[in-house]
Amino acid sequence: MIKLLKLSEQFFLIIESLPTGHFFLDGPLDLIVVIGGACTMIAIANYTLDTTPTAIISSPKPQGDDDGKV
């Protein structure tokens, strides 16, 4: 928990030191937008970089019984 707090503190210091940092840290609502934007970008990256093949599966054709039963 302490590590997380220290990490958050470092994150805020970095953002504040940037020339455009104050654009995003004027208030809690802007910070929420920054977090939302980061989540969105991470999600887009995760989706597009996922290498699991997305196969289009065709339905298996029903096989009729040889003895004519339905």
Binding site: D30, V33, G36, G37, C39, A43, Y47, D50, T54, I57
Partner: protein, 289 residues
């Protein structure tokens, strides 16, 4: 077309969708703040521009298509064989009505939150109808995307609480959730139609078919508004070059949607749209600062 060209084309289209959506959002926001123009008129002009471009491309295109005839005969054939686009236009009309009904009974913030669920409904219908498979990583990414979009859209949430009865609020939520489900279904339906191999029709021909029905729908909405007893606006008043730009961007978006569904898929379209939300928010904040 080889795979690297396909990837380049797909990437270009998705970047185009992202930039178009962001530009459209910002320009429309500026226009609504500085001008008093009917949004239905803007949408009608956008559909008219889209129809003109689609008609010209349909007549001049040499792409392989099942559409018969040339010139006006081809357009007549397309109109007579446009059942699939008629269904899609009906779905879009129902979505508009449901949005209107929902916003009467629930707040804009709640509506926006529910609207982000269309990302998941699109993925769900893609699995059900297109029989695609999505890995658990992609499902998690989509869930994170919904969360991120809600946070990005949060500044637009007003603190005004609706005081409607619980039953009316439930009705509003039902309307928006139905609209969200229809949105996902419409995307996948359109994708299935443009990627169909049994009936090969180019995306410009599909845009022509859809444009005809969209124009009829918006014309009906405008005429209803003009005949309304509460209407005091002069029709087609306050138009400017900025308003025309909004319509042009809207038309461009409509044309890009079909291209996205043809060369990418519905889920990639939602990703591009989500990227546009972030981009327009960042650019909007930068302008304000």
């Amino acid at each position: 077309m080889n795979s690297s060209n396909k990837l380049s084309l797909r990437s270009a289209i998705l970047i185009g969708v992202c930039l178009q959506n962001a530009g459209y959002t910002l320009v429309r926001k500026y226009s609504t703040q500085t001008e008093n123009v009917s949004s239905s008129e803007v949408l009608l002009v956008a559909e008219a521009i889209k129809l003109l471009i689609a008609t010209w491309l349909t007549i001049t295109s040499n792409e392989n298509s099942d559409a018969q005839g040339t010139g006006i005969d081809k357009l007549k054939w397309l109109l007579l064989n446009s059942k699939k686009m008629f269904i899609l236009a009906g779905i879009y009309g129902a979505m508009n009505i449901l949005s209107f009904v929902a916003l009467k009974h629930i707040g804009a913030g709640e509506f926006t939150i529910c609207a982000q669920l269309k990302i998941l409904t699109t993925a769900g219908f893609s699995v059900l109808i297109m029989r695609t498979t999505l890995s658990s990583a992609r499902w998690r990414a989509l869930a994170l995307l919904v969360f991120g979009c809600i946070l990005v859209a949060s500044p637009s949430f007003s603190g005004v609480q609706r005081s409607d009865a619980m039953i009316l609020q439930l009705f509003g939520y039902s309307a928006v959730l139905t609209e969200v489900a229809l949105s996902g279904f419409a995307s996948i339906y359109f994708e299935k139609v443009v990627k169909s191999t049994s009936e090969v029709v180019t995306i410009w021909e599909r845009n022509f078919q859809l444009g005809i029905y969209s124009i009829i729908m918006y014309s009906g909405i405008i005429l209803y508004g003009w005949n309304s007893s509460t209407n005091t606006r002069v029709p087609w008043s306050n138009w400017s070059l900025l308003t025309l730009l909004v319509s042009l961007l809207g038309a461009g978006g409509g044309l890009l949607v079909a291209a996205t569904l043809k060369y990418a898929d519905s889920i990639m379209k939602t990703l591009a749209a989500a990227g546009a939300i972030v981009l327009s928010t960042v650019l909007g904040n930068s302008h304000r600062s």
